[in-house]
């Protein structure tokens, strides 16, 4: 268990202080795209410098270290209870060390006990699988961007959005319009078409586990992703809503079955401080490989 505790602490530290390479590359690319001397370019330069500084000082990229979401793929027979206990202690230790802010508040009393552990926090998503190795991924999801997430129920008359792909496109682009720069853009969208209200949002967040430059294997969803990305970047919202070409860095969409009676489009917005990391663990719980 010692090795697992160390591994999870390092996973938390690295996720909080270091942006994954695919995201860094996308930010650098957008910096090149923006016209020199614009406010958008200045904002992206500050973002880029912030990423460097955080890594160098091993300090949180953003002071809001977000909701702590663990995604664990593990073989049959894996002890989820033991894992959760070790992970919870790792979260509390990471908070003491300053890798995470004291960021978890009792919703009824308003008290913050400084541990980042409580009902529903951190959140765990376990998936059993046949292969013998263990994979742990971590997403730190900021609050400002979580607040601009949106769930649409189609048909939606005010958006003229029907229960088809065009209706989904209208809903997703409306979420981008309403968010403006308030979710600390340039943002990344995770979207789920279908599901119920809870699974829709949950699956929309799993899209943040994908690489930014991957392509959706489903041709219709791939087309929609590319289209929404291109269209959003033509709206002139820009980084922080300062205007410019970079409103979004990526769009990732999945679909789940729905009931005949409902048709939800759930949109989660991730800020530029896109903190996700993951690792493979060996049988002792030591990190054998980083995933991003």
């Amino acid at each position: 268990m010692r090795a697992l505790a160390d591994s999870l602490l390092e996973l938390i530290r690295r996720t909080s202080a270091e942006i994954p390479d695919d995201v860094r590359r996308a930010i650098l690319r957008s910096l090149e795209d923006e016209k020199k001397g614009t406010i958008a370019a200045s904002a992206l330069k500050i973002i880029e410098r912030n990423i460097q500084l955080a890594k160098q000082k091993s300090q949180p990229i953003c002071q809001d270290t977000g909701s702590i979401l663990f995604y664990v793929d593990a073989p049959v027979g894996f002890d989820q209870i033991a894992f959760s206990e070790v992970a919870r202690s790792a979260v509390t230790l990471a908070t003491k060390k300053g890798f995470l802010r004291q960021n978890s508040v009792d919703s009824l009393t308003g008290k913050n006990d400084g541990t980042n552990v409580g009902p529903g926090a951190p959140a765990f998503h376990f998936h059993q699988r046949r292969s013998p190795d263990i994979q742990v991924r971590l997403v730190l999801k900021g609050g400002g961007c979580e607040n601009v997430g949106a769930q649409y129920s189609l048909p939606c008359e005010s958006l003229q959005a029907n229960r088809d792909l065009d209706g989904c496109r209208r809903a997703i682009l409306d979420a981008v319009l309403q968010a403006q720069g308030k979710g600390c853009g340039p943002g990344i969208l995770g979207v789920c078409i279908g599901g119920d209200r809870a699974t829709g949002y949950e699956l929309s967040k799993t899209q943040f586990l994908r690489m930014l430059d991957d392509r959706n294997p489903h041709p219709d969803l791939d087309r929609l992703e590319q289209d929404v990305l291109k269209t959003a970047n033509e709206l002139g919202i820009g980084p922080m809503g300062f205007g410019g070409k970079t409103t979004l860095l990526g769009v990732k969409i999945c679909a789940a079955n729905r009931l005949p009676a409902s048709f939800f489009v759930s949109v989660s917005y991730m800020c530029w401080a896109y903190r996700r990391q993951g690792c493979d663990l060996d049988a002792e719980g030591a990190i054998s490989q980083w995933l991003y």
Binding site: I39, S42, A43, I46, I47, R49, N50, L53, A54, K57, Q59, P60, I61, C62, Q63, D64, G98, R101, G142, G144, N147, Q160, R170, L173, D174, L177, Q180, G181, K182, C184, T231, E234, L235, G236, I237, G238, M240, G241, F242, G243, C271, W272, A273
Partner: protein, 191 residues
Amino acid sequence: MIHLTPPFTEEKIRALKVGDEVEISGVLYTGRDAVHKYLYEGGALPQEVNLRDGILYHCGPVVMRDEQGGWKVTAAGPTTSIREEPYQWRIIRDFGLRGVIGKGGMEGKTLKACQEHGCVYFHAVGGAAQVLAECVRKVRNVHLLEKFGAPEAIWEFETERFPVVVTMDSHGVSMHDTIYQSSQKALASRL
């Protein structure tokens, strides 16, 4: 790039326009939810704090004790400003603020107060906790620490070249409104 230095006079503030990139050197006071509600409801400012011709920063910083017993800021990014919309106008009016720094922008009541009393809204880059902490050269003091706790207290930061953008000026113009409208139009033609 405009370099804004004290005193933050009405004249200097009125000269600023939406879209100006500004670097602020001088004292900033932090204040977030608790401070706004407290002042709005008639709470007294600690005697040493003078917000007249001052700048208020929507920020709940992470501040540590250093070896000499002083304070060191380790993260100092802006927090979302819109939560203070019900209170901000009165604080601008009654305490004579010349600037408010935050993120995400504010709305009509604040914009009107900026116009009437000579104040602007500066937008800092959200999430840039490390870059902005580096611009805080010194923590001069802290007030209401026991009452509100560290993130909600009034911290006095001495800053050097703290980078912001004017997104709401003292002439009734808000970048947030203009970009919302232009992006709404751009979207309508792409649906």
